[in-house]
Amino acid sequence: MNLSFLSPIYLLGLLGIAVPVLIHLLTRRQQKRLRFSAVYLLFKSQKRSIKKSTPNRLLLLLIRCLAVALLSLALAHPLFSFGGPADLIPVKPSANVFILDDSYSMALSSGDKTLYDKAVHAVLKPIGKIPAGSAFSIVLASQPTRVLQGWTEDSTLAEKILKATKPSFKTTSIGEALTQALELLEEAPQKEKRIHVFTDLDKNGWNAEDFPESEKQQNTPVKILDFSHLKTGDNRAAVKNVEVSQEFLTNSRVIRVKSKVLNLEGRALNNLNITLSVNGKEQSRNTISLKANETVEKEFTFPIKVNEPISGTIQVADDSLGVDNKRFFSYQPDQKIKVLVVDGDPKTVAHQRETFYLENALSPFSVALSNIDLTVSTLEQLPERNLFDFSVLVLCNVSDLPFGYEIELEKYAMRGGALFITLGDQIDPKYYNEKLGNLLPVTIQSLNQVDRQSDPFRLKLEKSDHPVLKIFTGKSLQEMQSIRFYSLYSVEGRDNREFTVPLWFSNKYPAVVESEFGKGKVILYVTSIDRDWNNFPIQPTFLPWIQRWIKYSARGLESIQRQDLLIGEPFVWKEAIPGTALFVKFPSGKITQLIPIDGEASFNATFRPGVYSLFRGEREASGKSESEETRAQPVTSLPENALPAGAFTVNVNTRESEGGKISEEEIKNILGNLPVEISQGGDVDQAIAASKGFPLATPFLLLVAGMLFWEGWVVRRE
């Protein structure tokens, strides 16, 4: 038999018994002594009298003391059970898996500690008392789940390990953890097997798909200790999403930060502070009001002076769970791209020039606005230019290059320059096929022409994943449909050359051919860039289309910046250049070198929210051969020649905050046949008592009421 209390702090109320005792002592009448003659008559009368005063007052004292004691006992949530408290781990040899939910929702505050601390404390208790022959292991339930401690009987080591852990920033997956626990139990020799889950019952951790049928058929008892009731504050709000964009073609460089804030409480939140910080400084502060369970979008805009990478946070006022109140973002405003355009068909009349439309598209109003610094050159001036000053070289309808200049071009492309070639009436296909054979993966075949009256060539348009073309959807795609092409060159791929065709004509001729050359790119556009062969330059889609191609070829388009990851998601880098490495600088300052394998590098250690900076640099020499090298290596410092290559952010998945608590019924549905027992965590002893015990609070309160009634009656009778 065991009497335990869920809130033993209220037992301090037992001190209140002093109050009736004091009242009794203070109101006690002084007993006087009197020498009296007829004492035997007093005895005689007392025997006959029903009233007995002294016991009455003692009775009152007793009743009052009992009432106070019962009240404090009732408040302390007494639980009566026949079983002893050492029941979490049975006395006979058993195998126990402790699944500890270390998801970020367990970081919810509980007094001056967190739910996780309480859960760890609760795990440590039974571990410390583990009987001989029993073994335990500990599984952490945040996704991806992992075994913190394999089968052991040594509680001291496990205690050390457990105490060193902290709640992660990850989400929960009880299903995975249970699978892992069941696998562990299969290895265990003990007959008695148990699983104990210490969690806050966050709905997010319970996905029916995570529980395979085979699991549900097992009969290992699962005891779930719920710690959610121990929280001392609510997780009121979370920043769900942050999007950063740059206002396009306005008269200033304005960054727009859009954030979605989620009210997690069942009531309205008024005047919630929301703060935008950029590069470590508070940029803007505002308040928002959210209705119950509403998501509100809040937009901040601010100008930037220089096109430098920015990173920052959107943060709402702190609540009990601070992890989801802050969301990181990083953004790389477009950098200035220096473009050299070579006009192969210069005219004195401006609009007849081959590059007229291109020039206007790339710098529509001024250089400052488009980030493209355009330099137009004639073919004659070309050899005088230093190609390496430019990121992109655009050859527009150039018939042939100065003698031997193709070697220059190859060097330029090899070192990372981008070559964008457009064709036209001036070009000499023979020259292109012979001299530029290294650069172009295709040969230029024949000129295909149609009359202006007859049916023109049209682009074959479909939704594309290509970084340049993916923005053209819906209306813009329809608009592109109307572009008329009257002349174009057909091309044919060279043997053993790799190239891609991101854009086709409807007659299956390639429109754009893209290929890699060294560190650079070569892009061939098979028709003219002016209006001679098509009407594309006067279409509204021409401007973004050509701007994106130029930026893309200069590798300025798909900035790595755009990667916004969730905790645990891998960062993937696809545009790896052989021989280089990417260095990831953690928010904590630690640096890891990523070595690409097959042009791709990935990074998995995204366990903390924050901004991870990226640097491109020469690969650090290591003694190992390439095959032995791991994909990620920690390094002490960045190499000297490392250049900033952007950043990516890692944020928590707010699904963990949004879910709310799962009900007992739902759990039982999900777990199928697995025998489940759910009780409130806190103190393990209490939890077990709670699971088995009979709550005495109500009977005690009834007794209190009874006592007070009795007391009133006795006082009245007196």
């Binding site: 009448r29 002084q30 007993q31 006087k32 002594r33 009197l34 020498r35 009296f36 003659s37 007829a38 004492v39 035997y40 008559l41 007093l42 005895f43 005689k44 009368s45 007392q46 006959r48 009298s49 009233k51 007995k52 005063s53 002294t54």
Partner: protein, 303 residues
């Protein structure tokens, strides 16, 4: 008990005696003066009646004049008036020493003393013989009856030296005393009758059966009748009962019933035995009590 003609007067006792005497005399002065007639016939100056001579009658009481006239022997009978012997039995047990915590008037013992002194005074004034016996569970002091006026001094001294103590055992006292008492004398018993083991009825019956005229003065303090105390008390017995702690309020009603029942029962028993029963609370003025009693006696004797 040794009779003393002279006393070694202590000043305190003397003061008490004189106070008692003054009180007693004052009381008696105002009372009815006159004879205390006896129902018994005896040698006296006052002629009562003639009766035929029968052998055994004193020859000196034959009225020769009547013999001369009628030639019949008649004997003169006289009222006996001076040969009354009265013994006062005063209870000197512990219970008589009760002093109320808020005493204003006379204590119970004082009241009893004054009563006895007054009675003695009264009787002596009528040339009756008065004796005093003090007792608790036995006879403490015995002053035999004398009719000398100076005998009052002995009695007063006896009264003044009483130290109430011990347990009341009237039966024992009566048992030992009854032989000493002259039959046809008077016995005045003054007591609070607070004796748990006594059957007063038996004692009275014994006395009455010896031809004694018994008067019972039952004296109680009002505290003992009504139990008027407020608060918690531990009552310590003046005799041999154990202590009792209680709130008198709780048992007052019951107590009063018990006391009244006891008084009623004494009254009834006395009436049955032909004993004069006088219940006195110490607050009852003594003269009133005495005059009431004497009136009653007189009316009885005249019947």
């Amino acid at each position: 008990m040794e009779e003393k003609e002279t006393f070694a007067y202590e000043p305190e006792v003397l003061a008490r005696i004189s106070a008692l005497k003054i009180r007693a005399l004052k009381l008696v002065e105002g009372l009815l003066s006159g004879n205390h007639r006896s129902r018994h016939k005896g040698s006296s100056v006052e002629f009562a009646e003639y009766k035929d001579y029968s052998p055994g009658d004193e020859i000196r009481h034959i009225d020769w004049k009547v013999v001369g006239k009628t030639d019949k022997y008649h004997v003169k009978q006289f009222e006996q008036s001076t040969n009354l012997k009265c013994t006062i039995l005063l209870d000197a047990s512990g219970s008589m020493g009760y002093v109320s915590p808020n005493e204003t008037g006379m204590t119970k013992m004082d009241y009893a003393r004054t009563l006895v002194a007054s009675l003695s005074c009264l009787l002596l004034k009528q040339f009756d013989a008065v004796g005093l016996t003090l007792f608790n569970d036995q006879v403490v002091q015995h002053i035999p009856p004398r009719s000398k006026t100076s005998h009052l001094q002995h009695i007063l001294h006896g009264l003044s030296t009483i130290e109430p103590q011990g347990v009341t055992r009237i039966d024992q006292v009566v048992g030992s005393l009854v032989e000493r008492l002259q039959s046809r004398s008077m016995l005045i018993l003054v007591s609070d009758l607070l004796a748990k083991e006594d059957d007063i009825y038996k004692d009275l019956k014994l006395l009455v059966s010896r031809g004694l005229e018994v008067v019972l003065f039952h004296i109680l303090h009002p505290d003992e009748v009504s139990l008027p105390f407020e608060g918690d008390f531990i009552f310590e017995s003046l005799e041999d009962d154990p202590d009792i702690g209680l709130d008198p309020q709780d048992i007052r009603e019951e107590y009063q019933k018990v006391v009244q029942k006891q008084i009623e029962s004494y009254k009834k028993q006395c009436l049955g035995l032909g004993v004069d029963y006088v219940f006195l609370e110490t607050t009852t003025p003594l003269d009133q009590a005495l005059s009431y009693y004497l009136l009653k006696r007189q009316s009885l004797s005249k019947v």
